[in-house]
Structure formats: C-alpha cells, structure tokens
Amino acid sequence: MIDPIKQKASLLQVVRMVLSAFLGIRKRADHDQLEVAPWQVIVIAIIAGLSFVLAVVSIVRLVLR
C-alpha cells in the first residue's frame, strides 16, 4: 500500500476529531488522511472536557432557575 501523503490537521479538524470522540463516532478514512500531534489532541481534549462539564453545569443552572 502506498502511504498517502498526510496533511497536517488544522485546529478545527482536531476540534472535530475530539468532539466526534465524545460521541464515539469516527470514520477511519478521516483519521488516515490527517497527521495529528498527540499534544494537539490532549490540549483540545482537556478544553473540550472542561467545556463539557461547564455546559452540563449551565444546563443545570438553567433548569433550576
């Protein structure tokens, strides 16, 4: 198999990657075409994790208002 030349992932693509991980749905093809550094995923995942918590907390606030 010839290795396809991988593109470096943009910030938006990494964000999409992490968000699709939260849902648990991801196409393998998406992964194969992109080159992602581990630190990118880790940083974005921490931010996404925090935003997830904050989002749930704000929903709770909305419900209890």
């Binding site: 939260f22 648990g24 196409k27 998406d30 749930v56 709770v60 209890l64």
Partner: protein, 534 residues
C-alpha cells in the same frame, strides 16, 4: 518438542532451538520469570484461584440468605464475607485476569519480543500473592474480618478491628502492582510495536489496554490516598473522615468514588477489548467502525472521571450537584451505546458460527447491555433514592461485572487457549459450560432486580418474610453457577493434558499477529526479530 512447523515464522526458522534455549526449569522458571507468557499464565491461574476463594465467600452469603432468619453464620462474619467477596473478586480475580491477558497477548499482537520492563513485570505479579494472603488472612485477625463493605466507607472503616489494617495494606500492595503493570503496558504499547504497526493498526484489545492502563495510573493513587487517610485516622490522630475533629465522612465517599467509577471502566474496557477480538473472528468480518471503537473507548475513559457522585446521591448533596451528575451519567451511555451498536453491526450479515468463545461474547453483549440499562435506571436521581443500597444495585453491578467482565474473560480464555497451550478445548463441554453459566447466572441475579424493587436492602444477613421466594431461587442459582465453574476448571485441565493438537490458526476469522505469524503453542520466545507489518 513437536515437529518443526511449516508455518513460516519470520526470524524463527529454527524454532526448536528457540524453544529450548534460555528456558529455565522448575520453581525458578516461575519465581524469577521475566517471560511475558509465563507471567501471563501465573496471573491467570492466580485470578482463577482468587475467583474460587471469592466464589466460596459468595456461596456463604447465598447459603445464609437461602431462608429468612439467621441459620449458618453470625452477622459479623456475614458482613466480612460481603466485604471480602467484593474486594477479592474486583482486585484479586477480575483485574489480574485481564492483566494476564495483557501479558500474554500485547507483545504477540504488536510484534514485540516481550514486555518493556520484564523484571518489573515479575514484581507486579509477585506482589499479588502477599496481598491475597493479607485479604484472606484478615479473616483470622482478632475480631474477624472487617465488615465494612468493599467500599471501606468511613466511619465504619475507621472504627473496625485490626483486619482493617491488613486490608488497607493489601490495597496498597495491589495498587502498586497495578501501577507497575500499567506503566509496563503503556511503555510496551508506545515503544515496542513492530515496524509498520501504527497505533491505529493495533488490534482493539491493545487499544483498550492502553486506555485502561492510563486510567489505572490516574486513579490507583487516589484509592491509595483514601485508604492511607483511613489508616492515619485510625492510628495517627488525624481526622480526615471524623466529623468530631472537623473532618467529613462524606469526603471519603467522594475520594473513593473518584477512584471507584473509573475502576468500573478499568474492569469493563479490557473486557470490551476481548469481545472486540472474538466477535469479528466468528463473524468473519473486520470489526465494524474500528476507529469509532477506539474513539468511543477513549471518550468513555475521559467521561468516567466526571460522574463519580452518582454512587452517592443519598449521601447528601446539593440539588445542583445531583442534577449535574445525573445528566453527565446519562450522557456517558452514548459512547457505550455506540460500542454495542458496533458489535451488533459487526455480526450483521457476517458468516456467524457459534463456538464457545462466540457464545460467551454474545452472552456478554446481551447481558452487559441489560446491566447498562439498569445502570441508566439508577442514574436517575429520584429513582436511585428509592433503589440505593437495595438488591437492585447488587443485580445491576453483577450484570456488569459477572456477565460483562467474567463472561468476556471466559470468551477470551476459550478463544486463546489453543494459542497458549497448543491444544483445543473440548467444544461440547465448553458449550455446556456456557449454557450452565448463562442459565444459573440469570437465575441468581435476575430475581435480585425484583428483590431490590420490593425494597430488600443489600448487606444484610436476615430479611423480611416477603423476600423469601426470590432469595431461595437466587441461592439455588448461585450454587449452580459456582459448580458450573468447576466444569470450566476441568475443561482447562483436560485441554492442557489431553486436548487435540490445535492448528496455528484454529479460527479462520482471527487475523491478529499471534494467529497469523506464530505457531500454536506460541514459542517461549516470540518475535525476537520483529515482523514487518504492511
């Protein structure tokens, strides 16, 4: 040594030489082993031994509960049985079983010669017997075993007898063993993959263990901290969990469950990995949505840190926190649902056959999903307030732990036994083992849902008369389940001593390296020169 196999093993043209070279014999082979296969074998036998010990404790519990009233044991001893049954099954049976799988399979599946730190691997295993000795020995401490429940909640745990100290020390040792094992697994997976074995080409089992190992490294120190604080509260005048001294017993619950909820996934995720190997092999199709599975597993691991307090809705929490943990818990069901969907989609229109490993994998899928659903029921705060500490919870987590983790371990053992021993198990007996386990498991635990809904509390040796019928059924089921496992032991021994010779690749759908590149049994040293993966 059997005849030289024609199946080419790259770099292993004279396998006879490899098999005899450097293979220590006698007790030394096991005591000083640095071989991932031998250590894996020891882990698996150790966990089976602990499974029997924990199982006997379960049967003591079920014997006492066969009828209302106190017949067989004293309440203190009963409490000690519920405590050590839980601790031994979680830390002594299920976790070491999957570490055994990891040791056996990870190097073979990624084309490595051994684990990254073979001596540390030896230490990881040999820490377990002393811990087991402490857990079992705690029964004989003055005042008997600590009847505090496997969660070791304060203030019971700060007031319990000397058995509690033995238990705390056992937990420390088990934690050290787990952390060392995890460091080994992470290093092996990140650094020792054969050329061409990209992360996203690893078999799913390796992925699940990579994620599990990170979880273990993250939360075992938290548990160690919790039990150390218990220890200092008991002996060194601190008041972490003592309200009279300004502490808070609920703090213990928070710390424990910050460990405890990821722990559930530490047990479940390697089980997912085993099932993700078995189902594609017997469906003769690649795993549906491999990348999705990897991502879903990672996301389950991350989310597992954010839901811990759903175990303590009744401990006293502001309504904001209750709502937060309820919402977050419901959301964690989404990636788990994706995984179940993917397993079903893997089977969809595959050429299915139903050998024993596949039967256990399907049993896992069906019953684990049921256990997941009762988990969702319990995640709803107002429902949980009714069901907390009832047999509904006991039924729920036994569906996850027994039908989830244990069934998947059985699936894995039947699946890889031909590779490990070079011999086939008795298919007919294997199927009988499955059906007996399935029927008796449900007989034991399905009725416990009804008991819980009717309000029977857990961890009690005596109960009101209206619970008598279902308890009798459950006890009969438990003895049936226990004795069925003796059949399993017989099957494994029969395989090792007189099983038919297994081909190198007995399952035509199995496609990871241990099947395609290595003979059965796998040689003592495999992949001394790494294979090249295209």
């Amino acid at each position: 040594m059997e005849a030289v196999n024609t199946h080419a093993d790259h770099g292993h043209h004279d396998r006879g030489h490899d098999d005899h070279d450097h293979k220590p014999t006698g007790l030394k082979r096991w005591l000083m082993s640095t071989n991932h296969k031998d250590i894996g074998t020891m882990y698996l036998w150790f966990s089976f031994f602990m499974f029997i010990v924990g199982g006997i404790m379960a049967l003591v519990i079920r014997s006492e509960l066969f009828q209302p009233g106190l017949q067989i044991v004293k309440p203190e001893f009963f409490n000690s049985m519920t405590t050590y049954h839980g601790l031994i099954m979680v830390f002594g049976a299920i976790m070491p079983a999957f570490v055994g799988f990891a040791n056996w399979l990870i190097p073979m599946q990624i084309g490595a010669a051994d684990m990254a730190f073979p001596r540390m691997n030896n230490l990881s295993f040999w820490l377990l017997p002393p811990a087991a000795f402490l857990l079992i020995g705690a029964q004989f401490a003055p005042g008997g075993g600590a009847g505090v429940g496997w969660t070791l909640y304060a203030p019971l745990s700060t007031q319990a007898g000397p058995a509690m100290d033995l238990t705390i020390f056992a937990i420390h040792i088990l934690g050290m063993s787990s952390i060392m094992g995890s460091i080994n697994i992470i290093t092996t997976l990140l650094n020792m993959r054969a050329p061409g074995m990209a992360l996203m080409k690893m078999p799913m089992f390796c992925w699940t263990w990579l994620i599990t190992a990170y979880l273990l490294v993250a939360v075992m120190p938290v548990l160690a901290g919790a039990v150390t604080m218990t220890l200092t509260d008991r002996h060194f005048g601190t008041h972490f969990f003592n309200a009279a001294g300004g502490g808070d017993p609920v703090l213990y619950q928070h710390i424990f469950w910050f460990f405890g909820h990821p722990e559930v996934y530490i047990i479940a995720i390697p089980a997912f990995g085993v099932v993700s190997q078995v189902i594609p092999a017997f469906s003769r199709k690649p795993l549906f949505g491999y990348a999705s599975m990897v991502y879903a597993t990672a996301s389950i691991a991350i989310l597992s840190f954010m839901v811990w307090a759903h175990h303590m809705y009744t401990a006293g929490m502001p309504v904001q926190a209750q709502l937060y943990f309820m919402y977050a818990t419901v959301l964690i069901a989404v990636p788990t649902g994706v995984k179940v969907f993917n397993w079903v989609a893997t089977m969809w229109r595959g050429s299915l056959t139903f050998e024993t490993p596949m039967l256990f994998a399907i049993g896992f899928l069906f019953l684990f999903t049921l256990g997941g659903f009762t988990g969702l029921v319990l995640s709803i705060t107002p429902v949980d307030v009714q069901l907390h500490d009832t047999y509904y919870v006991v039924a729920h987590f036994h569906y996850v732990m027994v039908a989830g983790a244990l069934f998947s371990a059985f699936a894995g053992i039947y699946f890889w036994l031909p590779k490990w021993t070079g011999r086939m198990y008795d298919e007919k007996l294997g199927r009988i083992h499955f059906w007996l386990s399935l029927v008796f498991f449900n007989l034991t635990f399905f009725v416990q849902h009804f008991l819980g809904l009717a309000g029977m509390p857990r961890r009690i040796p005596d109960y009101a008369l209206q619970f008598a019928e279902f308890n009798a059924i459950s006890s009969v089921g438990a003895f049936g389940f226990g004795f069925s496992q003796l059949l399993f032991l017989y099957i494994v021994i029969k395989t090792i001593t007189s099983g038919e010779k297994a081909p190198d690749r007995p399952w035509e759908g199995a496609d990871s390296l241990e099947w395609t590149h290595l003979p059965s049994p796998a040689p003592f040293h495999s992949f001394v020169e790494p294979p090249v993966i295209k």
